[in-house]
Symmetry: C2
């Protein structure tokens, strides 16, 4: 049959890239667990009414249909989740009786959106989320803590610097109230598009869909142009002359996040009042994150505070969380040759097999090396040593082992095929240099 071709929007990695991705995910997981986040995975599907509750049809949900549908039912109205927040909110509600609140969880999983594929925007993608959810109320302290956790996780990776932009929807909502804009959700959605459609596009949407006067639109665009540190934001907001209790509350929260971040991760977090997040479920702090030098990629880590995403009867579950767009980040870094694993295979040692009769001896060497944690494979086919060395080289395996019976010297020998160094070695004690035991993640130079 014809060679299959890639499906647009459904990226797949080569083994070396997958090793790099795993090392990235291991680092995120380690950082999240170090901060006491518990792992959760949810099923890939949710009932459609759950997926569409917040008017999320724009997310282009994929609906499932059984090829052999029958009378059993049970699958009608299921769709693939388009993010990890909506399923997590449902999980919290479903298992509330068996969770301890505030509940800190991380979730690293795929999601699906039938959008038009473009760079950094896929139909199937991996996200790494952290959220804290409370019952009834959730201290504001988490709005400060969570961005620092994801910044620590990203800082542990050999990738370009990231810069987080923070805003607070209460501030913008209060500003809308102060200047008399009634449909603030529409106004926030319009402002959110600033970096995609520019001021002219936002102005058109503000005066159109959002029903603003030209003066109101100008005031909102002025606010959206504000950025900087705590002092700069405070001054710029005061200069607008707008006064509103909700505006004050949002400003105070924003300043608190900025000041704490400045102490813990200097220079990594700035205010940007154009950030409002399109999703209506955010109610306070909102976050976006740019990879410095790759701003055109869009946000690689976004999130915010949501006070009303889930409620059951009289109980509400307010939360705050951020989501790292792992596929978006890695597709850029792999595509530009900026990130790689030190080798494309876990194997550290290939044990050479000069003839099939020697295979048991080679297997014994491999077992001894593995018993001490050295990833090892035995050569697939007996062949001249030169050919087996070339085969290891092609596979990216750094060491080739020659069992004693077949070495010139009467002792086992191991060759570092990068340097050509070949030395006597004992399978019960030899260790590779620490940096060669497993593949590591390294920043690379595009070549």
């Amino acid at each position: 049959m014809a060679r299959p071709t890639a499906l647009s929007g459904f990226p797949e990695w080569l083994p070396g890239q997958r090793i790099a991705e795993q090392l990235v995910l291991d680092t995120l997981r380690r950082t999240f667990e170090l901060h006491g986040f518990s792992p959760v995975e949810t099923r890939a599907v949710e009932p459609l009414d759950q997926l569409l509750r917040k008017g999320e049809t724009s997310k282009e949900v994929y609906v499932l249909r059984r090829l052999q549908a029958d009378a059993e039912g049970g699958d009608a109205g299921l769709g693939l989740h388009f993010d990890l927040t909506v399923p997590f909110a449902r999980y919290v509600q479903e298992f509330a009786g068996r969770l301890v609140f505030p509940f800190r969880r991380y979730q690293i999983q795929r999601a699906w959106r039938g959008e038009r594929p473009q760079e950094g925007r896929f139909r199937e993608f991996t996200q790494a989320d952290i959220d804290v959810v409370g019952t009834g109320e959730l201290p504001f302290a988490y709005d400060v803590e969570l961005p620092l956790v994801v910044l620590a996780a990203l800082a542990a990776l050999p990738i370009p610097l990231v810069l987080m932009q923070v805003n607070n929807r209460k501030l913008v909502q209060g500003f809308c109230a102060a200047i008399g804009v009634a449909d603030y959700p529409a106004a926030l959605r319009a402002v959110d598009k600033l970096d995609r459609v520019g001021p002219t596009g936002v102005r058109a949407e503000l005066t159109g869909v959002a029903g603003c006067t030209p003066d109101q639109a100008a005031a909102l665009l002025g606010l959206a142009a504000v950025s900087g540190d705590a002092a700069e934001v405070r001054a710029a907001v005061a200069a607008t002359g707008a006064r509103d209790p909700l505006l004050d509350e949002g400003l105070a929260e924003l300043v608190a996040v900025l000041e704490a971040a400045q102490a813990a991760a200097p220079g990594r977090v700035v205010a940007d009042l154009s950030i409002t997040r399109g999703l209506d479920y955010y109610t306070g702090t909102v976050y976006e994150t740019r990879l410095v030098g790759h701003e055109s990629l869009g946000s690689v880590c976004s999130g915010g505070r949501y006070d009303n995403l889930v409620s059951a009867g009289t109980v509400t579950y307010p939360g705050v969380g951020l989501s790292i767009g792992v596929s978006r980040l890695l597709s850029r870094l792999f595509g530009r040759g900026l990130l790689a694993a030190t080798r494309p295979t876990p194997t550290c040692v290939l044990v050479a097999v000069p003839d099939e009769d020697s295979r048991p001896a080679a297997a014994a060497v491999a077992a001894a090396l593995r018993a001490r944690g050295v990833p090892t494979e035995v050569s697939a086919a007996a062949a001249r040593f030169g050919r087996q060395i070339r085969s290891a080289d092609r596979a990216g395996i750094p060491f080739v082992w020659f069992p004693a019976a077949n070495a010139d010297t009467g002792s086992d020998q191991v060759k570092d095929i990068r340097s050509g160094d070949q030395l006597d070695a004992d399978p019960d004690s030899w260790q590779p240099p620490a940096g060669d035991l497993h593949p590591r993640l390294v920043a690379t130079t595009p070549g």
Copy 2:
């Protein structure tokens, strides 16, 4: 809104169970990498024609449809994969030019089948596969190596013993030829159902669908009753009187697998000539695996040799592989209370906060502990210490830390809330006992 309910066939774990699942997957991954298997993940979807190529409609494929379908197309005819072998075969073919053969890969991922849910059979489930694929030919040595790798992986888990049953389809096919059964694929499919429908059911299918005479059916049922070690199988097959070159080849391969396994993992691998695997793509060795004491669950790890699953032009990619049914295994072990993590949270230490003014001091302690790899969280709310200790207890966190300024003694103290022991401690040097640093996987007694 009403509390959401579980979807039948789409299992979800509580955080403590997810921690246990992760530890299981970490162990499998470590064992696979130690044996030189490279990680691969494939997209969740395949073109329907790819999914249905081998007559696999019985797998109940889930087809995708975009809620907002438009003229762009591109998603028409996509379905969720129902195993990891078919997508891997496609991946090998698509990326053949950039892989090194024989290609050893492991793949731990979810798959979907719209089957009727029952114990151990889900609509969404996780599998952990290893395969080796060659170009043109693949040495038989891998038929011997791969079952030993999965047995090593399973033996590294604190779970009941596993017992692997092995057979060879060439042996059964050759036997069919020897006794004059023409439609051997139908005969193999019938025999495969022995443990589900019993000899009477198999006899009916053999004489019905498979077109066997009563004598042929009896002979096949006699063969299917053969089990044991290499010597026993050799004797039992000789006693049938059937002679055929393919039968001899299959028997020789089966004996080779049994003898190698007996040397490497004594007592863990036996022949069972009723094992034929329903999937037509297997061409030689086939494997199934039972959890001792839980045989009713069915096979928890299955696979086999496939010589013709993929071909592109004149190139074929023969392979051999096994797939561990992680969800099936864990649902039984969790359901029976036989496997757990030592705690349901990654957090080792909760730093107590007596009042909000002390939060920065508590955060500094947490940072010091995390810097040395101790998973730590800071108490959500200032409260009486007794209440914070109870909160740690409920969450399963073993240690509570009292910063100096608030302790009675003037020094920081840490309390093991299981024993009640409370000692002076320095956040820059204290370490928990090694077994308490991270959750561990333990066999448990049903209670």
